[in-house]
C-alpha cells in the first residue's frame, strides 16, 4: 500500500500509478454530482458549463447556504455510488473525469472505462461528513442551481481524504476481491458456526 498526495486536475500518469488499496489525498478542484445532475447531463442532454476533464467528481447532495450570491458549506457528505453506475462510463469517456469518489463502488462497465481511459474509483469513508466538510475550503461555484441539492458543484479542497483506491485503471476492483475472499471463507465459517 502506497500513499499519494496529488493536485487536481490529474494527469493520466497521476492516475495510472495508483493501485487498488493505495491511499490518496489531494488538493485542488473537486466537482460534486448526484443522480439528478447526471440525468440532466446524459438523459436530457445538457452540456456542463465547465470542463470536467482531469478532475475528480464526488457523489454528493450537499447542504449549502446562499449568502448574497455566495454559496457557503453547511454539511457535505457522500452517498452510495451504485445508483449512478450507468452514467459513470460516459463521465470518464466523454468528459475525461479521472476519479469518481463515493462509497461502496461501481460495476464492471465503469471498471472497463477506467482501464481504457485512465481513471480510478476512490472510496471515501461513509459517514465522515464532518471531516469532508472541514476539508472543503470553498464552494467556488454552483452550476444548474435549479437542480440544488443535486446540481453541479465546484469545490476547492485541501488535503482531501484519506481515500482508498478501490477500483484502479489496471482492472482491479477491491470490493469484488473482498467479496470473493469472503465467499471463499464462507464454507469454513458456516462449519464453525454449525450451520453448514
Amino acid at each position: 500500500m502506497a500513499e499519494y498526495h496529488l493536485t487536481s486536475p490529474f494527469s493520466e500518469q497521476d492516475i495510472r500509478q495508483l493501485r487498488a488499496g493505495d491511499i490518496v489525498r489531494f488538493d485542488g478542484r473537486l466537482f460534486g454530482i448526484r443522480d439528478l445532475t447526471q440525468i440532466y447531463m446524459f438523459d436530457q442532454h445538457h452540456e456542463p458549463p465547465v470542463s470536467l476533464a482531469g478532475y475528480p467528481c464526488i457523489h454528493t447532495a450537499p447542504s449549502l447556504r446562499k449568502a448574497g450570491d455566495k454559496w457557503e458549506k453547511i454539511c457535505v457528505g457522500t452517498t452510495t455510488s451504485v445508483r449512478m453506475d450507468r452514467f459513470s462510463p460516459d463521465l470518464i469517456a466523454k468528459y475525461g473525469v479521472r476519479a469518481i469518489i463515493g462509497k461502496a463502488g461501481l460495476y464492471q462497465k465503469s471498471l472497463e472505462a477506467m482501464q481504457q481511459y485512465g481513471a480510478v474509483y476512490l472510496a471515501i469513508v461513509g459517514g465522515s461528513a464532518a471531516l469532508e466538510t472541514l476539508q472543503i475550503e470553498e464552494v467556488e461555484a454552483v452550476y444548474w442551481e435549479h437542480l440544488h441539492p443535486e446540481a453541479l458543484y465546484q469545490f476547492r479542497v485541501k488535503n482531501f481524504g484519506p481515500l482508498t483506491v478501490a477500483m484502479d485503471s489496471h482492472g482491479r476492483h477491491l470490493y469484488d476481491e473482498v467479496r470473493a475472499e469472503a465467499a471463499r471463507r464462507m464454507p469454513e465459517i458456516y462449519k464453525k458456526l454449525g450451520v453448514a
Partner: protein, 292 residues
Amino acid sequence: MSDFDYGIVEEAAKQLYIKALCDLPPDVREALKRAYARETKPTARSVYEAIFKTIETADQKHTLICQDTGLPLYKVKIGSRYAWNGYEIKSRLTNGTRRATQEFPFRSSSTHPLLRVNPQTSVGPGLPVFYWDFSEDDTLDILMAPKGSGSENVSKMQMFTPADGVKAVKKFVLDTVVNGGGMPCPPGIIGVGFGGTADLVAKLAKDAILRPVGQRNPDPEIATMEVELEEAINSSGVGAMGLGGDVTTLAVHIETAYTHITQNPVAVNCQCWPARRARAVIHPDGAVEYGY
C-alpha cells in the same frame, strides 16, 4: 392532571436529536478504538483514522458527524409514579423533532412514500417512530436515535419454520451482513430480532441496536449466540467500509420474544459505525439529565 410544563419535553426532544447527530456515545467511541487496535490491514486502519478525525471535528465544531440525519426514533419509558400525560409527550416530541430540523438547521430526510415530497420537518404521518414502555419510577426516560438509510436499507427479515431451527436463523444473520458489504458503513452494530411476530421481530432488531455497544443479552444462551455470530461475521474479512479487514462488526446484539409454536422469525437491523443515540431523563420537578 399535574401542571408539568411540557415545553421541557419539547426542548429535550430538540436537544436530543441534535446531540445524537453531533456527539457519538462514549461506548461507541471506545468500541471503535478497540476495533482499530485489533485491525491489521493498512487500508482498514486508514478508514479508522478518518473516523476518529470525523468524531473529533464534530466535537470541536459541533457539526453533524454524518450528513444523513436519518429517520427519528424515540424510545420512551414512562414512569408510573407520576401522572405523565401521554398525549402531551407524543405531540411535544414531534414538535421538538421539527424544531431541531428547522432551527439547527439540518436536512430533513423524511418523505411521502409515493409522492416523494419532503416537508423539510423530519416528521409526518408515522414519524417520528415511537417505542413506548413503562417503568416503576417517576421519570420520563427518552432515548433518541436517528437512523440512517445506508444501514437501514440492507436490513432484512424472514419467517423461518421451527424445522429450519436456529441454524437457519444464524445463517440468515451472517449472510445478510456479509452480503451487505460496505453499504451499511461498517463496522457498526448488528441488531437481531429473534422470535415474536412478523412486526415484532423487526422492532426487536431495531431495539437491539439501541443498546450500548457490546452490552450482552442477559440470557446466557442468547449471549453465547451473540458472541458466535460476532466471530463468524468478523471472520468474513469484509472489514471497515467493505474494503477488507479484520473487524466487520463492533457487536451483535440479539433481542428475543416468545413466538408461535409454528413460527421461527428473525430480523436483522444493521447500524453503521456512527451508532448515534442520545438520552434524556426528565424528572417531575422539571430537571433534565442528558446522557446516552
